[in-house]
C-alpha cells in the first residue's frame, strides 16, 4: 500500500530534546518515504522570539534547534527523511544558517535547506495590512509584531524542488505534516477530503506526546505505562488522507482510541468547521478505530474549500505582571494565609486589581476576580501557600506589590516562609483575518555566504 510516514519530533518550543531519535530510528526501520516534523511555535512563542531577535539579530529562531535536530540530522539526510519545522520562528534564515553549520560540523554534505516566508507582518508594510484588517480598537504605539498563519503548499513546493529540510516561521501547525504529504501524494489544491484527512493527521501529531499518553494519564483511571520514556507519534498517511497513528518503537506511552479522541478535539471549536489556511475540515463523520496495539486509525474526515482569509496574530506591549508567594504551615496555617491575603488587599488593592490563590485550597481552577476563592469556606488546612498576582503598565507599582509581599516576612502573620517574587513583561494579542491575496507565501533556498 502506498503510505507516507510522518513522525513528530517536538510538540512545542521547549519539548524534550531526546524525543526525536527513537522516532527517526523507527522511521528508518519501517522504511519507505517519510518526513519528520517539529512544531515549536505556540501562540506567544513567536512574539518572544521577535524580542530575542531585536536584542541580537542572529537569534530569534528556536533556542533548542541544535539540541533537538542535531542528533537526528545525519540519519534523516542519509535516509531521505525530510525535516520540516516551524523552528525558524522570528528568524527562519538564522535557523537555516544554524542547520547548515550543524551539518558542516558533523562532516555532512551541505543539505538543501528551504525557507518559507510570507508570515511576518512586523515591518511597516505588514503593519499597514494589519491596520486595514483589525476590527477591534488597538493602540498602535504599543505594537510589537504580527504574523499570519501560512499553509502547506509552499512547504510541498519546496520539497518537490528538492528541499531536504524546510524551515518556516508561522504556519498552521498541521500544515507541517500536510506539506510533505502533498509533496508525496501530489494532491491538488481542491482535493478537499484528502487535504482535510492529512490535516487531521497533522493535528494529531502537532502536540507530540499529547496523542501518546501525555496530558492524558490519570493514575488508576487512565493508566499509561512508561510515562518517563513516552514515545512520540508517527502517522501512516494513506493516499486518501486517512491515517493510522502509531508511536516510536521501544518507548513507553500509549496510543489508544481514548488518547486519539482527546487529541482529535484538542483546540477544536466547531467540529464541522475546523479552519486552516489549506482547507476547512469536518469531523462530523470521522471514525476512530483501534487496528492493533498502539495503532489507531482515523478515517472519514471530510474537507470543504479553504477560507478566503488567513488568520493573523498581532502582539502589543501588555505592561508588567508581578507575582509573589509566601507559605504558612502547621496549626492554624489557613487562617494565617487568609490574614496575609487580607493585608495584601488592604495595602496594595488600591494600586491595581489583585488575584489571590491559596495554594493547597485553590490554585488554578479559580478566576482572576476571586469569585471561586471567596465562595470556598474557611477551613483548617495545615499547609497553604498564598499567591498574589497583579498587572500594571507602571513597573514601579508592580515593584511595590512585590516589596509588600516580601515584607510579610517580618510584618505579616506568624511563621510565614518561602517568599518568592517575580515580574516580567507581558504581551497582549489580538487576532484578525486578512484576505489571502494580500499575503502571498513563497520559498527560497538557503545559500552559503562567503563568510560562512
Amino acid at each position: 500500500m502506498n503510505t507516507f510516514l510522518i513522525g513528530c519530533g517536538a510538540g512545542f518550543s521547549g519539548d524534550r530534546v531526546d524525543a526525536p531519535p527513537p522516532v527517526v530510528r523507527t522511521l528508518v526501520r519501517r522504511g519507505g518515504p517519510a518526513a519528520l516534523m517539529f512544531e515549536n511555535l505556540a501562540e506567544r512563542t513567536l512574539a518572544t522570539a521577535q524580542l530575542a531577535r531585536r536584542s541580537n539579530p542572529a537569534l530569534g529562531y528556536d533556542p533548542l534547534l541544535e539540541l533537538a535536530v542535531g542528533p537526528v540530522l545525519a540519519d534523516c539526510l542519509a535516509h531521505g527523511i525530510t525535516i520540516v519545522g516551524n523552528f525558524g520562528a522570528a528568524n527562519p534564515r538564522g535557523a537555516a544558517r544554524a542547520l547548515a553549520r550543524m551539518a558542516r560540523a558533523q562532516g555532512l554534505a551541505a543539505p538543501r535547506i528551504a525557507i518559507v516566508s510570507g508570515d511576518d507582518l512586523s515591518d511597516a508594510a505588514g503593519r499597514a495590512i494589519v491596520r486595514g484588517c483589525l476590527s477591534t480598537p488597538w493602540d498602535e504605539s504599543r505594537f510589537v509584531c504580527a504574523s499570519a498563519y501560512q499553509g502547506a503548499f509552499e512547504i510541498a513546493d519546496a520539497i518537490r524542488a528538492g528541499a531536504q529540510i524546510v524551515v518556516t516561521g508561522r504556519v498552521a501547525d498541521p500544515s507541517l505534516a500536510l506539506g510533505p504529504a502533498i509533496a508525496h501524494f501530489g494532491w491538488r489544491r481542491d482535493d478537499w477530503d484528502a487535504l482535510a484527512g492529512a490535516t487531521f493527521a497533522g493535528h494529531l501529531l502537532e502536540c507530540g506526546a499529547q496523542v501518546t499518553g501525555g496530558y492524558f494519564c490519570d493514575p488508576g483511571r487512565k493508566d499509561v505505562q512508561g510515562m518517563e520514556d513516552i514515545g512520540y507519534p508517527i502517522a501512516e498517511i494513506a493516499s486518501d488522507g486517512s491515517c493510522t497513528i502509531t508511536k516510536a518503537d521501544d518507548t513507553g506511552g500509549l496510543v489508544s482510541v481514548q488518547t486519539v479522541k482527546e487529541q482529535l478535539l484538542y483546540e477544536v471549536h466547531d467540529p464541522a468547521a475546523y479552519l486552516t489556511p489549506d482547507v476547512v475540515c469536518d469531523l462530523s463523520a470521522a471514525r476512530v478505530q483501534e487496528t492493533g496495539p498502539h495503532q489507531v486509525r482515523l478515517s472519514g474526515v471530510r474537507g470543504k474549500p479553504r477560507p478566503a482569509t488567513l488568520k493573523a496574530t498581532v502582539f502589543t506591549e501588555g505592561g508588567w505582571l508581578g507575582e509573589g508567594e509566601i507559605s504558612y504551615a502547621g496549626r492554624n496555617a489557613e487562617a494565617r494565609a487568609r490574614l496575609a491575603m487580607d493585608i495584601m488587599q488592604k495595602r496594595c488593592g488600591g494600586d491595581m486589581h489583585l488575584r489571590f490563590d491559596l495554594i493547597g485550597l485553590s490554585s488554578i481552577h479559580g478566576d482572576d476576580h476571586n469569585r471561586l476563592l471567596s465562595r470556598l469556606p474557611a477551613g483548617q488546612l495545615r499547609d497553604v501557600r498564598l499567591r498574589v498576582a497583579g498587572r500594571h503598565d507602571d513597573e514601579a507599582r508592580v515593584d511595590r506589590l512585590l516589596r509588600e509581599l516580601t515584607a510579610l516576612w517580618t510584618g505579616g502573620p506568624a511563621g510565614g516562609g518561602g517568599v518568592r517574587t517575580g515580574k516580567r513583561k507581558r504581551l497582549s494579542n489580538i487576532s484578525c483575518y486578512i484576505p489571502r491575496e494580500q499575503l502571498p507565501a513563497r520559498f527560497d533556498f538557503h545559500e552559503e555566504g562567503p563568510a560562512e
Binding site: K261, E262, H365, R387
Partner: protein, 107 residues
C-alpha cells in the same frame, strides 16, 4: 427517594481542555458508548454554563459527535483574557477539564 443515582462525570467520561485566545474548548468523551445518551441528556450547555458561572463565560456552545461518543464544549471568554492577559498560574485553562469532570449527574 427516586430510583436515580447520582455520580460525577469523572466516573463516566474523560475530558481535555484546549485554548485559543480567551476561549476554551473542553471535549467530553464517554468511556462506554452506552453512557453517551445519558451524557447528552445530563450535560447540557445550560448546566455547563452554570458549572462555570464563576468565570462568567460570554457563551457556552455544545457540539455533538455521536460517532465518537463525544461532545465538545466551547466556552467563550472564559480565560480572564487568555494566555497573555490572565493572572492565573494556569493561564491556558489546562486544568479546567477536571472542573467539568466534577459536575454531578443523575444516572
Amino acid at each position: 427517594m427516586s430510583d436515580t443515582a447520582v455520580t460525577t462525570l469523572y466516573d463516566l467520561a474523560h475530558a481535555r481542555t484546549g485554548d485559543k485566545g480567551d476561549h476554551i474548548n473542553i471535549s467530553l468523551i464517554a468511556y462506554d458508548p452506552a453512557h453517551y445518551d445519558t451524557l447528552v441528556r445530563e450535560v447540557t450547555p445550560e448546566r455547563v454554563a452554570a458549572h462555570f458561572a464563576y468565570r462568567e463565560p460570554a457563551a457556552v456552545r455544545r457540539y455533538l459527535l455521536p460517532h465518537l461518543g463525544a461532545m465538545n464544549f466551547v466556552l467563550d471568554r472564559a480565560l480572564d483574557g487568555g494566555v497573555n492577559a490572565s493572572l492565573n498560574l494556569d493561564m491556558h485553562g489546562k486544568a479546567l477539564s477536571f472542573h467539568l469532570l466534577d459536575m454531578p449527574i443523575e444516572l
